[in-house]
């Protein structure tokens, strides 16, 4: 490989020309493409704030698990909020099914979807400011823009792929427990979250640990999904999880969005690589 030192003036001129083409044409072409992909992704999230399409449309998701049918639920998603919920529980003790439903007046925001949507719109905003009329002067400028965009995209993706790890008292204290119309029985905890492209609902059945119990009380730490036997203190009581039911349902548009994130991240990285090839040539330029 010929070193830059040895490069002749003609070679240098060609490289300069190539680099200029990269900055003036190729970068904008990639940015255009990125913007299209991200706009497509953000459409999936149906921005409710634009107000042009009116209220976001409602989608119903039937949640189930392949193993048991002890818990069945229908959750209604409206944009980034759960507007309705219908959960049927078959309690193992008595065969009387338990029915849980949301209050009419309240919606439950799915923070993960909201954050992902906001990160995408931030990324789009970063890109719209650099339309075709804008001229990039240095490669570093492009790298910085790409870094900023990638940061938003990685965050958006991470919000969906990594649900919050909560402790049981945190779940008990969350507003979700207050969302149900006949109030949630005291021996039940409910948590809803997004994991990758799936909407997940977990129901924890609890029983009270007797104060004179011989069991060694050890409060459980934070987790996405607690297993039976996890203990915690709530109010003055010590409780233990006896049963865990997890049901889930794939949200198709979340899947699309994740694919869009991955594709655009790769596009960003490729653009960065193209710029970096020239790094030895523009390192002498004044910033």
């Amino acid at each position: 490989m010929a070193t830059a030192m040895a490069a002749t003036a003609a070679e240098r001129a060609v490289l300069e020309e190539e680099f200029r083409w990269l900055l003036h044409d190729e970068v904008h072409a990639v940015l255009r493409q990125l913007q299209d992909i991200l706009k497509e992704a953000s459409l999936r999230f149906t921005l409710s704030g634009t107000g042009t399409e009116g209220p976001a449309k409602q989608e119903n998701f039937i949640l189930g698990s392949c193993g048991t049918d002890q818990v069945k639920g229908v959750l209604t998603l409206q944009g980034d909020a759960l507007s309705q919920a219908d959960v049927n529980l078959k309690m193992p003790r008595n065969n009387q099914p338990l029915h849980l439903a949301f209050r009419e007046d309240k919606q439950w925001k799915l923070q993960q979807i909201q954050d992902a949507r906001n990160h995408v719109s931030q990324a789009i905003y970063l890109l719209t400011n650099r339309d075709a009329s804008y001229q990039f002067k240095t490669g570093a400028e492009v790298l910085k823009l790409m870094d900023a965009v990638m940061l938003q995209l990685i965050r958006a993706r991470n919000r969906l792929t990594t649900p919050a790890t909560l402790t049981l008292p945190e779940i008990a204290a969350s507003g979700l427990t207050r969302m149900f119309a006949p109030a949630l029985p005291s021996d039940l905890l409910v948590n809803v979250y997004i994991n990758l492209n799936k909407l997940c609902l977990t129901v924890y059945q609890l029983h009270v640990l007797q104060p004179n119990s011989t069991k060694n009380f050890r409060p459980a730490g934070g987790a996405v999904l607690h297993s039976p036997g996890a203990m915690f203190e709530w109010g003055s009581q010590r409780l233990e999880v006896s049963h865990v039911h997890k049901v889930e349902c794939v949200i198709p548009w979340l899947n699309d969005a994740l694919v869009f994130f991955t594709v655009s991240l790769q596009l960003c990285q490729q653009l960065k690589d193209k710029i970096s090839v020239f790094s030895s040539y523009w390192s002498y330029r004044p910033f």
């Binding site: 030192m5 704030g49 909201q114 905003y125 990758l196 910033f287």
Partner: protein, 1082 residues
């Protein structure tokens, strides 16, 4: 970086990159604060004539700074809060660059507002934050802990921007606009109580503004009516009373608004992303609100804007600009519009009080007042921006200096290895190179400076690794370097030969790492080479072969981990995915993303890892082995712990395996986004004193018998000191729980054993060292620090600390007798606030203070305050009139050493006191009284007195016990009161040093007088005094005192009083004494 560490930065001719992401001007209009994408903050001095000059660079954040805000009532405490991408928050004192408080929260803020309501709030007030999370977070301005949140009832979402409405007519409110364009209003003053009781506080109003990407919201305090909301594509004016829209102005195509401010009643300024700004007059259309349509439709004709003035930047722009506007109506202040660019340029416009358009009604252009960059500072102050090896390459070529692209420091050999842009690698003695760069007369040093040049690379050297420094088992002649052309060379640094050349053909080598101690392949450790084509190569040095080429990574490599048991190489990438490679077979074992990848990376936490590509890991790397020691240091004050001596010793042993803690260290620093690096010289004052103290002992064996007796005394007091601290440990556990008490009691015998052993051990080491240093001609470099190096280090440190040029005679005294050299120019000192927050002065910092502008003679005076402090120091010392006089020996190098050790010891004591944690300081303050009254060393149990006495033991090695004078007591007092006033360490050191030299000169004068008169017999307790007795002639000191008098008289009147002086009466004291003295002599 530890606080007892003194740091000096050698910058080089190129300024580090500083891409401004946040900018603000402090309320006193004296400082511009900028935050950068690289994570550093920069403080710029703003003169009354609106001239800018960079002052200090603050290190602390590891990711880009997102926002800056004031964190206190600025007239009381000059504190600024900064927040970074990764959730770090820091509060900085902008007058001295110290980090006051830090926290890392899982929130990324984009805007912060300070709110304080004096009569309803206790504490320092709140920081109201918004960013990439729902609603508004309330953070305590003092502790940086989350207090509560302002929650939204309707459509909670991220908040884009906010402002605090503060007026006499309306109660304090918080106005915010969310990402979806929802305007929300919370009551502030009335909800303080509910917030403190952690009750939910919901918004008072919520209204959709029908626009996205809100940038700024401002309330007009002059009309108390208008509300300015700036969106990226338009700006709007609302009526605050009913939130009715009064006007919408849409931007031109391709133009994005980023902010705005209300200048005066009906006058606003709007600025754009490309650095332009527009001042509008809002004219009333004549239609009054009374004829507002009843159906609630917006009446657009109520006001309309008229463009008065505009500002612009003429140069080629690089987006985005961060702008702000400062409105000051008070007289000495200006109305300033300021902007910061990604390129690091700051631009200021002075906005006239009444902006008017041209006569023909067309907008007038307001000219730029000032513009400045970091590089301007570096260009202007060339002498200060010396790179550590500039002179080397300089006299090699004659023209042009080599740009250092990578460097490594080998502590065990005191060698600095620098790779340059042109492919050459320089190897030189670090201390000598530093001296040649910093000191006057360095040209002599330059010629004698030995250095080697390794030629083998043809492109810029991007990374260097000295394997022996990481593992003692590897050959200490080896050095590995990688270049832009993906060529890795294994060198023998002693013979300057190329042992092997690896050609990887994988793009520039970004970093070279070594496998940890516990990871071995075929019995040897291996080198890991990360290339910029995202591949990782494993090199086996002994076998001179490449073991593995891992090339499937889609994103840049961020982290390398090793799994010793199963022989896996774990590669973490920028997209949070993980690749696991089997080293033996070279196959990709697994590829994981998301949650599982995180678990894999976390589970092998104990194994070695390093993040290439950021600056801070380098710093923390150094800290890591320091931290052990630091902990032991602080623990010696705090709880029932084993005796400090033992701890230090053991931690040294731990560190020994990796690298010996040294009094002198060079830290190469590289910044993000560029190859440009600079060097920081680190002086460990404590270590230096520790190592230097016993040196005279071993040296003294050969010298006269007096020193022999002194050794005994000194050794005794060392033991005494240990036992004293031990006693204190016992007593200190009194108030603690019984459990710990019994524990400590059970431990006590062991401790006792150790403390007895310690001095012997110590001595052993020293003897060992001496023995080694005696055979200095040995070709193999020594692992232990040799004595000459120590003294040289100490001298360089003293050169850096002395305020040169304050008094010419004093300078000469130092040059002649301490044998230290004058500085070439002002140096850039560093100041550490804690382990990972520190500030570095920039070239040209010395011209920031207006009062020092014309004083070019004073080379290294940090500020006027130094003189002030040193005077105070003298004033507090009781004028004993007692002079101690020393042996009339010939002035030899031993005495010189003694003098240096004494000074360092003093400085160390002062630095200790200045940096002492506050709660401890209280203990000391209270113990002063006990000290004074009892005046002996019997302590009340549980009191912290012993703490001090151990200091005394330290300080007064070889001094008589009864000699605990008021002088030292008052020094302690004075210095602890400096600490309360947060005087910086270097200021204190500088002034103490100055005064010590002055004192010595005076003592010397007085001694001469006494010589004429009577003869007193006293022990020498001041080596310095002893030392100053001998050489100076009578004629000379006469002129000395005159100049000193003159000096003092000059200094008195124009003292800049930054703090209230405590001893106004005593200030002139010593100059008066001096007058008397000189009269007598005459």
């Amino acid at each position: 970086m530890r606080s007892s560490m003194q740091a000096v930065a050698l910058w080089g001719i190129k300024a580090p990159p500083h891409s401004i992401t946040a900018i603000m001007i402090t309320d006193d209009q004296q400082t511009v604060v900028t935050g950068s994408q690289e994570g550093q903050l920069c403080l710029w001095n703003l003169s009354p004539e609106l001239k800018i000059s960079a002052k200090e660079l603050l290190f602390g954040h590891s990711t880009a700074v997102t926002c800056l805000a004031r964190a206190r009532d600025f007239s009381k405490q000059p504190y600024v809060v900064s927040a970074a991408e990764n959730g770090e928050m820091c509060i900085w004192n902008v007058t001295n660059g110290q980090c006051v408080e830090k926290a890392t929260l899982p929130y990324r803020h984009t805007a912060i507002c300070y709110y304080h309501c004096a009569f309803r709030m206790t504490g320092e007030g709140w920081l109201l934050c918004c960013g990439e999370y729902q609603d508004v977070l309330i953070i305590d301005a003092k502790t940086l802990a989350v207090v509560h949140t302002f929650t939204s009832f309707q459509s909670p979402d991220w908040i884009n921007c906010m402002c605090i409405l503060h007026s006499t007519r309306i109660q304090d409110s918080l106005l915010v606009v969310s990402v979806t364009g929802e305007l929300k209003v919370w009551d502030l003053s009335s909800s303080i109580n509910s917030i403190q009781e952690k009750q939910d506080v919901y918004e008072k109003e919520s209204k959709s503004l029908d626009s996205l990407n809100c940038k700024t919201i401002r309330f007009c305090p002059y009309t108390e009516r208008l509300l300015l909301v700036v969106f990226s594509k338009c700006w709007k004016v609302y009526d605050y009373c009913d939130f009715s829209l009064l006007w919408t102005e849409v931007s031109r195509s391709g133009q994005f608004f980023t902010g705005g401010e209300v200048l005066a009643a009906h006058r606003i300024i709007i600025w754009t992303e490309d650095g332009h700004s527009y001042i509008y007059q809002l004219l009333n259309s004549g239609l009054s609100k009374s004829i507002y349509p009843a159906d609630g439709r917006v009446l657009k004709e109520t006001i309309y804007p008229h463009l008065l003035c505009s500002t612009s930047v003429q140069e080629n722009k690089s987006l985005p600009f961060v702008m702000g506007y400062m409105n000051e109506r008070k007289e000495p202040f200006y109305k300033v519009l300021f902007s910061g660019e990604v390129s690091g340029r700051i631009t200021l416009w002075h906005i006239p009080d009444v902006p008017v358009s041209k006569f023909d009604g067309s907008p007038r252009e307001i000219p730029i007042s000032t513009t400045w960059t970091l590089q301007d500072n570096f260009d202007k102050h060339q002498t200060m921006s010396q790179n550590i090896i500039d002179h080397l390459s300089g006299f090699k070529d004659g023209v042009g200096t080599a740009v250092v692209t990578s460097s490594a420091y080998v502590p065990s050999l005191d060698k600095l290895i620098c790779g340059c842009e042109d492919g050459r690698i320089f190897i030189t003695q670090a201390l000598n190179a530093a001296k040649a760069g910093l000191l006057e007369g360095g040209s002599l040093l330059k010629d004698s400076l030995s250095h080697k040049v390794l030629i083998g690379h043809y492109q810029s050297v991007t990374s260097l690794l000295y394997p022996h420094g990481l593992s003692s088992k590897l050959d200490q002649t080896w050095m590995v370097s990688g270049d832009q052309d993906s060529c890795v060379i294994l060198w023998d640094i002693f013979t300057e030969q190329i042992l092997h050349k690896f050609s990887l053909e994988a793009g520039p080598v970004t970093s070279l790492l070594m496998s940890p101690e516990n990871f071995r392949l075929r019995g040897d450790q291996i080198i890991c080479c990360v290339c910029s084509d995202r591949s990782v190569a494993l090199l086996h040095l002994e076998g001179k072969c490449c073991l593995l080429r891992a090339q499937k990574h889609l994103f840049p490599v961020r982290m390398i981990k090793w799994h010793p048991v199963e022989n896996f190489l774990i590669v973490g990438c920028a997209d949070d995915s993980v690749y696991i490679w089997e080293i033996e077979t070279g196959t990709l074992e697994r590829h994981e993303t998301g949650e599982r990848a995180r678990i894999i990376l976390n589970c092998c936490d104990d194994s070695h890892f390093l993040k290439p590509g950021s600056i801070l890991p380098v710093v923390t790397e150094i800290q890591k082995h320091k931290i052990v020691e630091q902990r032991s240091l602080s623990s010696s004050y705090l709880g029932p712990m084993p005796s400090p001596g033992l701890q230090v010793e053991s931690s040294r042993k731990v560190a020994d395996a990796k690298s010996f803690p040294r009094p002198f260290n060079v830290l190469p620093v590289k910044t993000k986004w560029s190859d440009i690096g600079f060097h920081i010289l680190l002086f460990d004052l404590e270590n230096l004193v520790e190592l230097l103290l016993p040196t005279p002992i071993s040296d003294a064996d050969s010298s006269n018998s007096f020193y022999g007796s002194e050794i005994l005394r000194r050794a005794k007091s060392t033991v005494e000191k240990k036992t004293l601290t031990l006693k204190r440990n016992k007593t200190a556990c009194g108030p603690l729980s019984g459990e710990s008490q019994t524990k400590s009691v059970s431990e006590t015998p062991v401790q006792e054993d150790n403390t007895v052993k310690f001095p012997e051990e110590n001595d052993g080491i020293k003897r060992h060292k001496k023995m080694k240093s005696s055979k200095k001609m040995h070709p193999k470099p020594l692992r232990k620090v040799d004595a000459n190096l120590l003294i040289d280090t100490a001298k360089l440190l003293l050169s850096c600390l002395l305020p040169w040029g304050v008094d010419k005679e004093l300078d000469n005294l130092c040059i002649m007798h301490l044998n230290i050299l004058k500085l070439q120019g002002p140096i850039s000192l560093g100041l550490a606030s804690n382990e990972d927050h520190f500030s570095l002065m920039l070239p040209g910092w010395d011209l920031c203070n207006a009062d020092m502008k014309k004083d070019y003679l004073r080379v290294n005076l940090f500020s006027r305050k130094v003189l002030d402090l040193s005077n105070k120091y003298t004033a507090t010392l009781p004028n004993q009139g007692v002079t101690s006089r020393g042996l009339e020996n010939n002035c030899d190098s031993l005495q010189e050493t003694n003098a240096i050790v004494y000074i360092l010891n003093r400085l160390f004591l002062v630095s200790k006191l200045v940096n002492m944690p506050l709660e401890l300081a209280c203990g000391i303050d209270s113990s002063f009284k006990g000290m004074e009254s009892v005046h002996n060393k019997v302590k009340n149990p549980g009191n912290d007195v012993l703490n001090i006495s151990s200091f005394y033991g330290y300080l007064r090695n070889g001094k008589n016990e009864h000699h605990i004078s008021e002088a030292d007591l008052s020094l302690l007092k004075l210095v602890s009161c400096w600490r309360d006033q947060s005087v910086q360490l270097h200021l204190a050191a500088n002034s103490i040093f100055l005064e010590m030299m002055r004192k010595e000169r005076r003592k010397f004068l007085e001694a001469k007088i006494e010589k004429v008169g009577e003869h007193y017999h006293r022990d020498t307790d001041d080596p310095i005094t002893a030392f100053f007795h001998t050489p100076v002639s009578l004629v000379k000191h006469d002129s000395n005192s005159n100049s000193a008098n003159f000096q003092d008289a000059e200094d008195m009147p124009d003292r800049c009083v930054l703090e209230e002086s405590e001893h106004p009466g005593k200030l002139r004291h010593h100059s008066w004494i001096m007058k008397v003295c000189s009269c007598k002599v005459c």
